[in-house]
């Protein structure tokens, strides 16, 4: 399946579904090391995104249009740090995807822009037990897959697999950014909820492309 506007819409719908399915898990992860609102907030945000998507009278012309709708809706409905972080990620990704269809380099640009947005907004780097620990390896894997001649779907699959490994890698880390940093060493042994939701969202990006 090509990575086009229909893919973007499918990705968003699948994202809403997976967030709803994992809502309680995300709440629990966040309760362990944060303020316990990540699952509920993201679920509310993505539900609002789907409502807006349903209300569209015609399919957007560009992938960026879909991602921009996600960005602005998440920012105004999530209500926690995930709102501005994912909001900025989708917004930057939207700017990088003013096209009806993406080739492999375009998919890389989307993921790198999202990572840049999260880093710019959260001022986090890898190893601080945040969603950057999932996004950063995802971007690296996307570059490698594209350089190796992979299709757009292959690039998404590589990114999703790397995000999953990246999320796992947050477990032994003591948080130094975000709400979990108030816990310091006590955050060791817990999966970061933001990295986990990143893993879920990127898995659906790959699945929507049939990868």
């Amino acid at each position: 399946m090509s990575v086009d506007v229909a893919w973007a819409i499918e990705w968003v719908r699948r994202s809403a579904q997976t967030v709803a399915e994992h809502r309680d898990e995300l709440v629990e992860l966040d309760r362990q090391i944060g303020d316990g609102d990540h699952g509920e907030n993201l679920d509310r945000g993505f539900r609002a995104v789907v409502t807006k998507l349903d209300a569209l009278e015609e399919q957007p012309a560009q992938i960026g249009d879909v991602l921009k709708l996600v960005a602005t809706t998440l920012m105004s409905t999530v209500g926690g740090a995930a709102g501005p972080l994912y909001g900025t990620a989708y917004l930057r990704a939207a700017k990088a995807t003013a096209a009806a269809e993406l080739d492999s380099a375009g998919v890389v640009a989307l993921i790198e822009a999202a990572l840049d947005g999260i880093v710019a907004r959260g001022k986090a780097t890898t190893g601080e037990k945040t969603m950057v620990d999932a996004w950063s390896p995802a971007a690296e894997a996307a570059v490698a897959a594209a350089d190796g001649g992979g299709s757009p779907a292959d690039v998404l699959a590589a990114a999703a697999q790397a995000a999953a490994r990246g999320a796992e890698s947050t477990i032994p880390i003591a948080a130094t950014k975000g709400r979990a940093s108030y816990l310091g060493e006590r955050s060791v042994g817990h999966l970061d909820p933001g990295a986990r939701s990143t893993q879920l969202l990127l898995a659906e990006a790959a699945a929507a492309a049939g990868a």
Binding site: G80, G83, R121
Partner: protein, 254 residues
């Protein structure tokens, strides 16, 4: 909760408004109430919690507050509490039009102390940069006894004689005993800071800036404390005179 115009004195509503962004509706409202008590002429816009009252940060609410704060030619300083309040305020600013964004500053400041310091400074008619500096300076109050950075070098040396007006160094010095039973608490501290904002003079009390409510409060001056008041600048004599008069009348509390 917004303490708009006309609630006090002959002053105009301050040129700089404050937006107080918190995860909690009560916390934002409480900070606005506290700051408003000391700065009734400042437009204070609390944005706390989600629209349904839950804990969280309200993007649309912040957007509206920025618009209100910067209306009528005002500029605005924003004080925020934890993480997502900061991230959301930054995001709103990123998406705002440049003309509005240019008149809004996000303060890297402790929520309550920053709000109070900024409000009192804004009430004195200060501009955007001064109000921002007051908010951010409030954080340094915790750096330790000498960490406020506002004490004049050499000021407050023990044994200063209570000399009468201008000494050779151009400094106006007076000493008065604090009469207020409750000491130099928030209200009189705010009275001092506000009153002195009207004068072109740099005034210190026992070595700390009399323009800073927090510095004054931190003196911990109780009833009977000797206050060494020193003023420098073109209007130092007038500033020190109104100050000593207020001390003598117990800031209207006795």
């Amino acid at each position: 909760m917004s303490a708009e115009a006309g609630s006090t004195s002959s002053r105009d509503v301050a040129r700089v408004a404050l937006v107080l962004v918190s995860h909690s509706r009560d916390l934002a409202a409480g900070a606005a109430e506290l700051a408003g008590q000391m700065a009734p002429g400042v437009l204070l816009l609390p944005v706390g919690g989600l629209p349904d009252g839950q804990l969280g940060t309200d993007f649309d609410g912040i957007e509206r507050a920025f618009a209100t704060a910067t209306a009528d030619g005002r500029s605005a300083v924003v004080v925020m509490d934890l993480g997502s309040a900061v991230l959301t305020a930054e995001s709103v600013l990123d998406l705002a039009d440049e003309e509005l964004a240019a008149r809004v500053r996000l303060a890297d400041a402790p929520f309550v102390e920053g709000a109070v310091a900024a409000a009192v400074t804004a009430h004195g008619g200060a501009g955007l940069d001064s109000v921002l500096a007051a908010a951010e300076g409030a954080g340094r109050m915790y750096a330790g006894p000498d960490g406020d950075g506002e004490a004049e070098p050499g000021a407050g040396a023990p044994g200063d004689a209570p000399a009468e007006p201008p000494a050779d160094d151009g400094v106006v010095r007076e000493t008065r005993t604090l009469l207020n039973p409750m000491g130099l608490h928030a209200r009189p501290a705010a009275v001092i800071a506000r009153m002195l904002a009207a004068y072109d003079a740099k005034v210190t009390v026992n070595g700390v800036s009399a323009a800073s409510v927090l510095a004054l409060m931190k003196l911990g001056a109780t009833q009977g404390t000797e206050l060494r008041i020193e003023g420098e600048g073109p209007q130092a004599a007038e500033a020190v005179r109104v100050f000593t008069t207020e001390v003598e009348r117990g800031f209207g509390e006795i």
